[in-house]
Symmetry: C4
C-alpha cells in the first residue's frame, strides 16, 4: 500500500484506528479554533490575551493549511475535491487568517470553520442522522423555488406596505424617517419578529400596523404548507417502504402495491 | 405587418430581439425609478440632490406615460387592457407623480411601481417559476375565504381581550390609555409580533397577557392548517395523478411507475 | 298568523322584508354601541362628550333590553333560548350597563357586544361563509383536547424554565425580580412574542434564553400539526363528497366507496 | 392482605377510597408547595413572611420525604421505581430543600415539583387525556432526531450569521460588542422572538437583519412540517383503522361506518 493510499485512509476515511484518531484531533482543533475566534471578538479578553490568541490562531491555520495541501495530494482527482462542497469549505476555513494581514478584522470570518463540523458529523458515522438530514435537505431543495417565489412576494409586499406606513407616519414619527427604514419596519413586522425599535404612534399608523401583523400571521402559513407537503412526500415514502421487488430489486413500493411498479413482477 | 402589430410584438411580447431589448429597458427603468423614490424619502439625500431626483422622476413618469398610451393604442381591446390587473398597475404607476403637483408627498406612492416588476417576471420566461407561483396563488385564493373568516374571528377576539386588559391595566399603566390602544396591543400580542412598546405591568395584567400569548401560539395553527390542506391538494395533484392503468383502470400511480401496482399491466 | 309568530319572523328570521330591516337596524345599533364604548375609554373624548355618550349608551341598552324580553316572549321554548349560545351573549350584552351603576368602569365590558355581530353574520345569509366557519370550528373543537394538553405542557415547561432563568439571572438583573415574573418572561419567550421588557443580561442567562427560544421555535410545530391533521380530515372529506346514497340519502361517502356505509345500499 | 399491599394500593393506585384521598392530598400539597416557592422568590413577601414560608417548606419536604421512603418500601422492585421517570422526579422534588442548607438559593429549584403534577394527571383517570397526550408525545419522540438535526443546523446558521452581523455592525453599534453576543442576536431574530434589546442601526446591518428575518420566517416551516407528518401518522391511524370487514376483509373504514364500503356487508 502506497503512502498516498495510507494517507487517504487516514485523512478521508474513518475505518482505521489512525483515521479515527485523525478525525477526533480535527474535531478538537475546529472547536478550539471557534472558541479562539469568539474570545478574540470580546474586547476585555482581547485586551489581555490578544497576543496568545493570535499565536493559537496562526498555529491552527498552519495545521489546517497543511491538511488542505495533503488532501489535495492524496486524493485521486484534486480538482474535483477542490470544487466540491467540502473542498470549498476547507479552503474558506484558512483564507481569512491570511487576509487579516491585509484587512484587519477579516479574521472574524473564520467562524465559517463552523461549517467544517459538518464533515465530522459525517465521520462520526451517525448514519441515521445523516439519512434524516438528507431527507430534510431534499425536502428543502424541492421547496427552494416555491419558497423563494414566496419570499420575493413578501419583499414586494413589504416595499408597498413600508411606503404606505411612511406616508402615514412620517410627519408625526421620527422613527419612520425614510422609505428604506419603513420597509425595514415592514419586514420586522410581517415576519412577526417585532423588535419594537421602530413602532407607529399615530392612530392610522397603528391601524396599518395591525393590518400588516394580521397579514404576516396569515401568510406565515404558506412556507409551512409548502415544506409540509414536500416533507410528507419525503418521509411518507420512506416509512412505507415494505419490500424489494424479487424481479428487479427496486424498493420504495406503496404499502398497497401487489405488483412491482418498475418491472410488473408480483411482489 | 402593420406598425400596430410590430409595436404590439415589441411592447407586449418578448419573442423578438426588439421585444427583449424593450423589456430589459423597462426593467432597468423600474428599478431606477424605485431607487429615486427611496432616495427622495431620505432627508439628507433629498436636501442635496432633491432637484436632480425630481427631474429624473418626471422623465421616467413621462416615458411610462408614453408607454401606457402606446399600450392602449396597439392592443386590440384597449378597454379590456385598461381594466386588467396589469393595465391598472401600469396606470397607478404614473398617477402619483401628477397628483404630487396638487398634493405634495403623494409621489412616494410611486413605490407601487414595484408591482410592475411582476410583468418583467413573466417576460423573462421564468415559466417554471410562474407555474409554481400560480400553484401557490391558487392555494391562497382557495383559502382566502377561510383565512378571512379566521382573521375576523381573531379581530373579534382581540376586541374582547383588548377590553379585558384595558379594564385590568388602565388604572396602573398609562400604556393602556384607551380601548382602541388596548386592542392594538392585543393584536400585537396575539400575532406574536410583540413590539414591547406597550406591555402590562400589574400581576393580573401579566396573567391575562400570558393567556393571550398562549392563545396566539395555539391559533396560529389554523391559517397554517388551512393553507397546508389547500397546497397539498394543489401540489399533491400534480405529482400523483398521472394516468389510469389500461389494464384495470386504477389511477393514482407514482410519476415514476412503469407498471400498474394493482394488476401489473404496463402503463 | 298570531302576533307572536309574526314577531318571531321579524326578530329571529330574515326571510321577510321586515325581518331584514330589523336585522340591519340591529347591525347598525351594535356598531354604534361598540364605537361609543371605544370613545368613552378615550380620556380626551370622555372629558368633552362624556354626558352625551352616556345617554346614547343607556338608550341602546334600553333597546337591547326590550329586544331581549321580546325574544323571550316570542320564542316557543324561552328557557332553551336563554341557555343557548346566542341567548347568553344577548344577556351579557346588556348587563354591564346596569352593573356600571354599582361598579363604575364595568361598562367597558360592553365590548362583549362584539360577539353579537356573529348573529348578524348568520342573518346576512353568508351561508358559504358559515359552512366554512363551521368546518374550522369543528376542526378546532376536535383539537381542543390535544391543544389544551399541549398548552398545559407548555405552562409546565415555562414554570421550570422560568425558575432556571430566575436562579441564573436574579443576582445580576433586577428584571428577574421573582419567579412568577420569570415565568412570565418564559411564556413571552417560548411563544416567540418577545416584548423585550424583560431580557437576560448575563452570559449564562443569554444561553438559557437561546435554548428557550429554540425550544419555542421547535414546539410551535405541535399545535400546527394537530390542527392541520384535523382540518385535512374536515376539508378533505367535504371536497370528496360525491353522491348521496339512493337507499338512505346520506352523503359524505369516500370517493372509493361502492356501497353506502350507513345502510349498505349500492351507490 | 399485608400492610405493604394495602399501602401500595393507597400510594400508587387510586381505585380505593383511601387511595383517592391520598392522591387528592398529594395534589393539594404540591400546589401549596409551588405557591410557597413562588412567594419566597418575591422580595417583599420574603421580607415579611420569610420564616413562616421556610417552615411550611420544610414540613412539606418532610412529608414528601416520608412518601418517597414509603414508595420505596411498598413497591416490589424499589430499584426499578427509583430509576423510573416518576421515581427520579419524586427524588428531585425533595433534594433542593436539603441542598439549600449548603447552597442558599437552591430551594428555588423546588419548582421541579411542578412535574409531580403529571402523576396526579394520571391518577385523576383522565384516560382520554392521557391517550391523546401519549399520541402527541410519540409524534414528538419520532421527530426528536429530525428536530435536533434541524436545531443544530439553525445553531450553525446563527453562528455564521452572527459573525457576519458582528463584522458589519461592530464599529458603529455598541450592542454588537462581541461574536457570542451577536450570535445571541441571530438566535433572537431567526426564531422571530425579537426582543429588541439588540438591534442593528447601520443600513447594511438592517439589510442583513432583514435577510435573517426572512430566513427565520421561511425555515420555521421545517419543524412544523416534520411534526405534522408524524402527527398525521399518529392520529391518522387511530381514527381510520377501526375494524376489518367480515365479508371482504378490507379495513380503513370510517369510525361511523356501519356497512363495508367495498362489499356492503354489515360491520
Amino acid at each position: 500500500m502506497s503512502w498516498r493510499t495510507r494517507l487517504f485512509e487516514i485523512i478521508f476515511e474513518a475505518e482505521t484506528k489512525a483515521g479515527k484518531r485523525f478525525d477526533l484531533a480535527l474535531l478538537v482543533l475546529i472547536l478550539v479554533s471557534l472558541t479562539v475566534v469568539m474570545l478574540e471578538s470580546m474586547p476585555s479578553v482581547a485586551a489581555q490575551y490578544g497576543k496568545e490568541l493570535l499565536i493559537i490562531e496562526w498555529i491552527i491555520t498552519g495545521l489546517f493549511t497543511i491538511e488542505y495541501v495533503l488532501r489535495l495530494l492524496v486524493v485521486k482527482r484534486p480538482l474535483r475535491y477542490a470544487r466540491s462542497f467540502y473542498g470549498i469549505i476547507d479552503l474558506l476555513a484558512i483564507l481569512p487568517t491570511y487576509f487579516s494581514i491585509l484587512f484587519p478584522g477579516s479574521q472574524f470570518l473564520l467562524s465559517i470553520r463552523a461549517l467544517r463540523l459538518m464533515r465530522v458529523f459525517r465521520i462520526l458515522k451517525l448514519t441515521h442522522f445523516v439519512s434524516e438530514g438528507k431527507g430534510i435537505l431534499m425536502a428543502m431543495k424541492a421547496s427552494v423555488r416555491r419558497i423563494s417565489i414566496f419570499l420575493s412576494f413578501v419583499l414586494l409586499l413589504s416595499t408597498i406596505l413600508g411606503t404606505i406606513i411612511y406616508v402615514v407616519e412620517n410627519a408625526a414619527n421620527p422613527d419612520f424617517s425614510s422609505i428604506p427604514q419603513s420597509i425595514y419596519w415592514a419586514i420586522v413586522t410581517i415576519t412577526t419578529v417585532g423588535y419594537g425599535d421602530i413602532s407607529p404612534i399615530t392612530a392610522i399608523g397603528k391601524m396599518v400596523a395591525s393590518l400588516v401583523m394580521l397579514l404576516g400571521y396569515a401568510i406565515i402559513a404558506v412556507p409551512t404548507g409548502i415544506v409540509t407537503v414536500e416533507l410528507s412526500k419525503q418521509f411518507g415514502k420512506k416509512t412505507n417502504l415494505t419490500e424489494s421487488c424479487p424481479g428487479c430489486g427496486h424498493d420504495g413500493h406503496d404499502p398497497d402495491a401487489r405488483f412491482c411498479k418498475f418491472c410488473g413482477h408480483a411482489l
